[in-house]
Symmetry: C2
Subunit: 452 residues, 2 copies
């Protein structure tokens, strides 16, 4: 720990992957760095939890990485951690329009007209996505027009069948943790482009869901923190004061001062935070316009992954909620069996006001609809409503509604004097993913090193 009598060179606010990566890079370049974290743990939107009954370690937050995500993959190697492949052997399930389909490969065996509709729509969507500059979506051709409508409006205009509308709704839920109505079309396109297309976000081998971190993704933040000298938990920042020489951060336990500050928390959490002098208007209004996604992550643990015996992969999509996407989340040794269910967007809002027990029942019935009654009797379940976490505000990340990219996008990464911005929302690639968080931390650290 840096003694309180000495000011660090840089203070990082937020001990998620972005903040801790920034701190590591700065520390590696010889800077004295302090990290202030509001929670009593590091990791932010990643959190590996040890279950009380089975002792199993499960990822309650971000968990997947892929070979197309160079920043987080390199960091994992650097930290000496290992990855293992997501289980994806066997047939997938799709419950669409009341029919339960078993299939292998990318697309459920829907009627030919539906498949043609999906092929056309996804081709059109991805072609449009390729026109969006990832780092500056507001400079895209037709940016104003694309940002003036919702993703829902675009789907309604371009999908001819209810099944394809349902598939795109599932895409929005699974990838944005939102309903298509909550997203600007421009954002849906830009975000899709971050993954190189729809499949980049939704598939395992070769894509964003290929691998998981051995021991849990929470281990990344833990190792980062272990290597740092001065990480202070339970230190929420209540006021930020900037002058010509530096920045002072006030926490309930006292003030901290440094020449530069990197703020690496979801922008919405800054909306009511007092800054002196006040932030520039474009930045301040941006922070008001980035609400977080809505997701409940649910896991059910069974003695064994019983679905594997039925030739099923454990991966399923369903247009009947509340669970709309599932995965086999069993540990690499394959025992116990773990089914992971995502509840997202309006499905999550439907369960928001319930108690945990009622929500557990609803989620288990969803799993049973897909995998049979055996799903109803897990040995243990665990759930995390990320919208109820005050220091995240929701997951996976911020939603850009209509008008936000074109009106305020320029302010997303622009430093304000000695204050720099990191966090998954500010990533130039793979925004809102662990990879984007790492990239943003490295970029913010580089800014500070250049500026000093």
């Amino acid at each position: 720990m840096i003694p309180d009598s000495v000011n660090p060179d840089v203070i990082v606010v937020g001990a998620g992957l972005a903040g801790l990566t920034a701190a590591r890079r700065l520390s590696g370049a010889g800077r004295r760095v302090r990290v202030l974290e509001a929670r009593e743990r590091v990791g932010g939107r990643t959190h590996t939890l040890r279950l009380p009954a089975t002792g199993l370690s499960v990822d309650m937050g971000g968990q997947w990485v892929g070979p197309n995500q160079p920043h987080v993959m390199a960091l994992i190697r650097e930290l000496g951690l290992e990855v293992y492949p997501t289980h994806d052997e066997g047939q997938n399930l799709a419950l669409i329009g009341g029919r339960l389909l078993r299939y292998r490969g990318l697309i459920p065996p829907l009627p030919p007209l539906v498949l043609a509709d999906y092929a056309l729509l996804s081709h059109r969507f991805e072609a449009l996505a390729r026109t969006i500059p990832l780092e500056a979506p507001w400079t895209a051709p037709d940016a104003a027009e694309l940002d003036a409508q919702t993703f829902d409006t675009w789907i309604g205009k371009n999908a001819c069948t209810p099944q394809v509308r349902a598939l795109m709704r599932l895409y929005a839920g699974a990838v944005f943790s939102a309903d298509p109505a909550e997203l600007s079309l421009l954002h849906a396109l830009a975000y899709t482009a971050h993954g190189g297309g729809i499949n980049g976000h939704t598939l395992t081998r070769g894509h964003a869901l290929q691998d998981r971190v051995l021991g849990g993704a929470g281990g990344i933040a833990q190792r980062l923190a272990d290597d740092l000298e001065d990480v202070r938990l339970d230190s929420p920042v209540a006021r930020v004061e900037q002058d010509k020489e530096g920045v002072t951060l006030h926490t309930p336990a006292g003030a901290h001062r440094a020449g530069r500050v990197i703020i690496a928390v979801p922008p919405t959490l800054l909306s009511g935070l007092p800054f002196a002098p006040p932030l520039p208007a474009r930045r301040a209004q941006l922070q008001q316009r980035l609400p977080m996604g809505t997701v409940i992550k649910f896991m059910a643990v069974y003695e064994r992954p019983f679905w594997r015996g039925q030739g099923l992969s454990g991966m399923a999509i369903s247009d009947t909620g509340p669970v709309t996407v599932t995965f086999d989340n069993s540990p690499p040794q394959g025992s116990p069996g773990v089914l992971l269910g995502f509840i997202e967007g309006s499905e999550a809002r439907g369960l928001m006001d319930m108690g945990e027990a009622e929500r557990r029942e609803a989620a288990l019935h969803s799993l049973a609809r897909l995998f049979g009654d055996e799903a109803l009797t897990p040995t243990e379940t665990v759930q995390r409503d990320w919208t109820a976490e005050p220091f995240s505000g929701g997951c996976y990340g911020a939603l850009f509604g209509p008008g936000v990219w074109t009106g305020h996008g320029e302010a997303l990464r622009a430093p304000v004097g000695r204050i720099h911005w990191a966090g998954a929302e500010t990533a130039r690639v793979w925004m809102n993913y662990m990879d984007g968080a790492v990239e943003s931390g490295e970029r913010a650290a580089a800014e500070v090193l250049e500026g000093q």
Copy 2:
């Protein structure tokens, strides 16, 4: 002032019209009330300023009231304040599609096809608006569909001429201080319904812009505050703790405790504020989803209202910015002359990064385009960028983007234990107007009185 050794019965957070009205009603019912205000003045989004050169009092914030707004009109009478009519004699101007038109009455003398287009579109829009329950827009028939698209999408589908698209864009700017792209169609409809239709919001005699408050609208808050025993300025709330018996509010200068609390500030300012226990998820995510409108209010003072001599009312609309709407804001005696110009939505964003001098030039050139070169030489100008005010976050009020009403509307007014919500955003009628602020304060006070 209530002595610090005695806890008040109720604490109100925010000394805008909503908070002060609530405090007045509670105080009138015999409750000991304390008001905590973050700023060094009362009034919130109303603020009457005395100009340094001319000594003229001008309203930098909310300024109009109308006979269709019973709550604020009754309060003005109760406080012994007077109103006077908005100056509206003479011809109006409209600069649409490069043509400057002079006209009397409601609608500029546009080509017959354009007038027919406007008549049809506004009829259709207002008929749809009448289907929206003001207090619960999410229960409207087709609420989900109306809330899944932007107002811009609806205009694009329903307007046949560029002039009508321009008029509706002007409506969004003038009435919501936003671009149509930033608004859910459901919200545009509900908000319009609050005024009984488009004209209810945009016209003078008989409507929302009929009258102004003698001496300035800031006088309402000032008189309310003068009558209260315990209003504490410079007291921003940094943490809210609720238990079974009451609520403790932490400010930098110390803690305050009461049995009940009314929070009467723009919801976005609460997004990062720590609540213990955390707010329910639906309420917390609502607060992330209510960004404030974007408006710069500009006034130019002249020795006399020179436009009146030319037979002009001073009222103008223009689809060439940055000023898109003007009014004659001269004091009742007609001297000096004051032109008021509004700069809103993306027009305001265009001027956000400028200094005051550059912005002044841009605004004066807008006025000259309408009223001639005499507008270029005012004796004094004044401007207020409300987006740069940290304790408002923007004006006139919160914008509801797609999905917000249907996803989170229920949480807007629902008390959380001993915490009640007021503020113009929570009004059951005339939301985001002074009338709505007053109504919300009276409703919240009644809730507290019923609950105790």
